[in-house]
């Protein structure tokens, strides 16, 4: 009986030891290299996000910082009071203003993404199919605007689109319009601003997908009876799909939370969540509400991305 229990102890010890064996199998050199970006993301993204999430569960208060504590210690009366305020989230749901802002942001971002794709695809296609020695220069031209500050480039559009701006003057001098068009402070200006500033983020992944493509596939399609337009939609587009998805993500995600472009180019009725967030934060000084808005936006954006990721991974895994 005792020897049996001794055996059990021994096996227990061995399984316990085996359980921690992975510690010996870790390649520490490799681990330390990989851990750097994880550490970076943890410190500068994940922890700040937890802080924001924490603030979103508190109440607005006239204090520094302007929100209430979640934890309330009282050692004398020996209690710890945890107070989670879900009111901000409830308010987000109840006041249709926020939902409208989210939906309007997504709508503006989606429409802009489609236009960026429509403008970006021909450019990426042209660069990918151009002579190899010209590609470097053409790509450099795509990236060139980054040499100027983002803010300045958006301001430049103010000068172009305003009532006495360049676009109106040119159109009037050619007699195409009689009086200046109102373009600034409209959704139209916001679309132009987003398409213009995010275009490189669309072109680069599209280019890399198109450039990799084996051109004999197009010839094969034509040889099998596909006209150029058919071979474009049945061969080129499906093969560029990873680039299309990547480019759309890179444009859509930042566009949803865009603040500068709607603030500078949009009208007062251009409702975007970035502006709402900023107003809550700076005008209302309601940090908890602003944090709740930010948290919900993140969930809104992260969930679909994760769904797409897992879908593509599944496809790659099956492949």
């Amino acid at each position: 009986m005792s020897s049996l229990s001794g055996n059990v102890w021994l096996t227990g010890f061995l399984t316990w030891k085996a359980r921690f064996k992975f510690l010996q199998n870790i390649n520490w050199g490799r681990f330390s290299v990989i851990s750097v970006p994880y550490l970076w993301l943890a410190i500068f993204f994940f922890i700040p996000f937890l802080v924001v999430f924490k603030i979103s569960l508190s109440e607005s208060a006239i204090a520094v910082p302007p929100y209430s504590n979640l934890l309330d210690f009282n050692l004398e009366e020996a209690y710890v009071n945890i107070k989670l305020n879900l009111g901000n989230y409830l308010y987000l749901w109840e006041d249709s203003f926020y939902l409208d802002a989210y939906l309007s942001s997504i709508k503006i971002a989606a429409i802009s993404t489609v236009f960026t794709l429509l403008v970006g695809f021909p450019i990426a296609y042209l660069i990918a199919r151009s002579d190899e020695k010209h590609r470097g220069i053409l790509l450099a031209l795509v990236i060139l605007p980054f040499w100027t500050s983002f803010l300045l480039r958006v301001y430049a559009w103010v000068g172009l689109l305003k009532k006495q701006g360049l676009v109106n003057e040119v159109l009037m001098s050619f007699g195409m319009i009689d009086e200046p068009l109102t373009m600034l402070q409209t959704d139209f200006a916001v679309y132009i601003g987003i398409v213009y500033t995010y275009l490189p983020f669309m072109i680069l992944p599209l280019y890399s997908a198109l450039e990799k493509m084996d051109l004999s596939l197009i010839e094969a399609a034509e040889d099998l009876g596909a006209r150029p337009i058919q071979s474009f939609f049945m061969v080129t587009v499906p093969l560029a799909l990873p680039g299309i998805i990547a480019g759309c993500m890179l444009v859509f995600i930042p566009a949803v939370g865009e603040y500068v472009i709607p603030a500078l180019l949009g009208g007062s009725d251009t409702l975007m969540i970035g502006r709402v967030l900023w107003d809550e934060f700076s005008l209302n000084r309601d940090w908890p509400m602003a944090s709740a808005v930010a948290t919900v936006m993140l969930v809104f954006l992260v969930l679909p991305i994760m769904l797409i990721r897992s879908k593509t991974e599944k496809e790659e895994g099956a492949a």
Partner: protein, 391 residues
Amino acid sequence: MNASELKSTSSGMVDSPVNIEPPLWKQPDATPFVRIENVTKKFDEFTAVDNVSLNIYKKELFCLLGGSGSGKSTLLRMLAGFENPTSGRILIDGVDMQGIQPWNRPVNMMFQSYALFPHLNVADNVGFGLKREGLNKHDVKRRVGEMLDMVQLGHLGKRKPHQLSGGQKQRVALARSLVKRPKLLLLDEPLGALDKKLREETQFELINIQEDLGVTFVVVTHDQEEAMTLATRIGVMNQGLIVQTDEPHGVYEYPNSKFVAEFIGSVNILEGTVIEDNVDSVRIESPQAGCTLFVPHGISCAPQQTVHVALRPEKIQMSRVKPAQDENCMKGEIIEIAYMGSLSVFKIRLQSGKEIRVTQPNFSRDMGERFTWNEHVYLSWDVHSSVVLTS
């Protein structure tokens, strides 16, 4: 079942030698299926194909053979419609192909890289062309199934191209190019990416498929062995020109130039000057060979012209004793032997320093009687085995 049928028909032919019709290219009044007339293709200043004229007949398996940059691929691409001739014209089945786009030609091509669509599975790859024809789903499925069965891939229809081996990809590419039943199939290095063993098997399969379907094949290859086994006729290309068009046997045994002789198989080239020029024979004095060379066919040449005599390594006999004749008899020392199993290759250095290649089949296992290093030997050959080349 096919094999036994084939056997019975062939044995039947042996029993009663029927009058076999000569191949189409030997009938003067036969209409060529593909006519290439004075076709030239220039890329900027570079002439890829230089005034080529060529007739290809129905059910032929015609090989365009040449090194890289010889213009063979450009010629094939002009047949497919991917390139347009700078001048000249191409007729397929009597129709001038000028201005007819690739998707409207009665031609399909099997690409060197196979060019399988990576995003489509095997069945969809094969069915791609049929769907473009507007065939209904049911017929597409049936014909794709038939085609895949023919190339023995019926069970792999759902696989994606990257899940296939090289040999399987090659079969899918072949099936895809044949499924539309083209009048003319173009094959760009069809066996180039396969390993040697697989290539040999596939060669015969390709010939069988071609004969079963009765499609005219034009194959581009740089591999002379491949061309020899596959082709009904070979067009040897060099620098944009077709330098010789003949059956494999003709190209090998009767090369018309030094280039063709050296390009196809291995050959010994002996330089000499014409000393006697008759209607049906020539005598050539060759200090290189160390003897007079007699060739029993007439050539057109100037007196005292320098010519080359081509002699295949397997046509040369080696002996330790001096043969009776003085002409066509060279003397030298064995400097290298390569034992290759079925045959041995000998390198013999003549007194002039010229090295001659001789191959001998290894008839017996016994090594005793073999020639060995540093032996002095006499080389002779049948007078009909050599060819004089003036160009």
